[in-house]
Amino acid sequence: MTGETNTNEIVIETLNLEKNYDDLKVLKGISVQIKRQEVVCIIGPSGSGKSTFLRCLNLLEKPTAGSILIEGQEITSPHCNIDSLRANMGMVFQNFNLFPHMSVLDNITLAPQRVKKVTKQSSEDMALMLLNKVGLKDKAKSFPDELSGGQKQRVAIARALAMQPKVMLFDEPTSALDPEMIGEVLDVMKSLAYEGMTMVVVTHEMGFAREVSDRVLFMDGGLILEDNKPEVIFTNPENPRTKSFLRKVL
């Protein structure tokens, strides 16, 4: 979605990122780099800190220590404009979090109009284009409670895309869905990946991770224990903990 496509450019970089909740150490020093157009999946057992890590990237959680650089800019510094940072990073949640009091169209056009000051007309054109892309062109006037889970999540993706973000963060986007609806959401994410979107995806969908991602991070106990290509992770992982985790879930 951006003009330049220097795929060696580092978009996200964390250095010794730590997060505590009181005495509980959830992230214990995470250093990772994500390049432009990369699709990175994060896997790992429940409670390992995957969501916390993802939510630190757009400061929905405030890191306790360490630094996060987005396109080279230190976002934990007080000089950083958090709102414009977030406007450039889309996020998709497990529970969709659509705004129930607004139509699908309003859900998608609200932020472009209020944050980016896009006109009503062009924000609606964009919304319809995105709805078409996620296969929901006829649902513009519907309300969220009239949609199935899979449709809700596709609207949520369209809503995030409407801000034309440089990065998309997904936190278990298919975990709340009935099995028959998982495919339609993964398909949308797949096409997004092939278009060159930079994506960080926390997921339990190993098939998706294997097929679509460039890299897979295995997290456990607040640390990244393995950072490898999917071929390696899924066939011959280097860390024994990765091996035992995958044996349980596959």
Binding site: D83, A87, F99, A111, V115, A156
Partner: protein, 244 residues
């Protein structure tokens, strides 16, 4: 023993007067009919006072309720002090502070109407604030997170996402606040504002038929409160049926 005797006497008297009242129901109706224009005038003012107080209270309460949840400590304490002070002191005292106390400080009288509206709205605002606060807190945190993740500021998130959903949810408790205020507004009779209660007082100090007139006034209050709670229940049901 003396107490039982006393109670017995009271009981007999009550029964006898009830008897005479049953007999005199027609006279009562006739009497009240004559006073109805006066009472309706008072009713109108009562409704007016209540509507203005709850509307202004809604505005005050929205800000105070948001202030109560502010990240800024100063604003939070300010809102808390206001809410606690108002909810922790009698409305009657508040009315008198505005009507009697304030003139001593500002050096000029406050018209009864102004004093009544001011004290009732400030009072209502504190109760509405707690309702608004609870309404805001009842909205799933994911809503605000989704809005913030789109780059919306905390003010925009409050205005476009959280408040519209919270307001829908607090219509029933706001209706109850309206009913409470309707009844409590009778207290401004002490500052000689001629709302329903004061009209009744004026009538019975002249006619010496306090029971007749107070009974009529009770019925008027009852009709008002029952119709409002009906309305609230109706809107509550409609909102539950289409929750958007």
């Amino acid at each position: 023993m003396a107490i039982i005797n006393e109670l017995f006497n009271l009981g007999t008297q009550l029964i006898m007067s009830l008897q005479s009242m049953a007999i005199g129901l027609y006279t009562w109706l006739l009497y009240v009919w004559g006073k109805l224009p006066l009472l309706l005038e008072g009713t109108l003012l009562t409704l007016e006072l209540t509507a203005i107080a709850v509307s202004l209270g809604f505005i005050i309460g929205t800000f105070a309720g948001i202030g109560r949840l502010s990240e800024k400590r100063f604003i939070r304490s300010l809102a808390t002090i206001y809410i606690d002070f108002i909810r922790g002191t009698p409305l009657l005292v508040q009315i008198l502070i505005v009507y009697m106390g304030l003139p001593q400080i500002i050096g000029r009288t406050v018209p009864p109407m102004v004093a009544a509206i001011a004290s009732l709205s400030i009072n209502s605002g504190a109760y509405v604030a707690e309702i608004v606060r609870a309404g805001i807190q009842s909205i799933d945190k994911g809503q605000a997170e989704a809005a913030r993740s789109l780059g919306m500021t905390s003010n925009q998130t409050m205005r476009y996402i959280v408040l519209p959903q919270a307001f829908r949810r607090i219509i029933p408790p706001l209706g109850n606040e309206f009913i409470a205020m309707l009844k409590d507004s009778s207290l401004v009779s002490v500052i000689a504002l001629e709302e329903l209660m004061r009209k009744a007082q004026l009538v019975y100090t002249r006619d010496y038929r306090p029971f007749d007139i107070l009974f009529a006034v009770s019925i008027i209050y009852l009709i008002l409160t029952l119709s409002i709670s009906r309305l609230v229940r109706y809107s509550e049901r409609r909102l539950r049926n289409n929750d958007r």
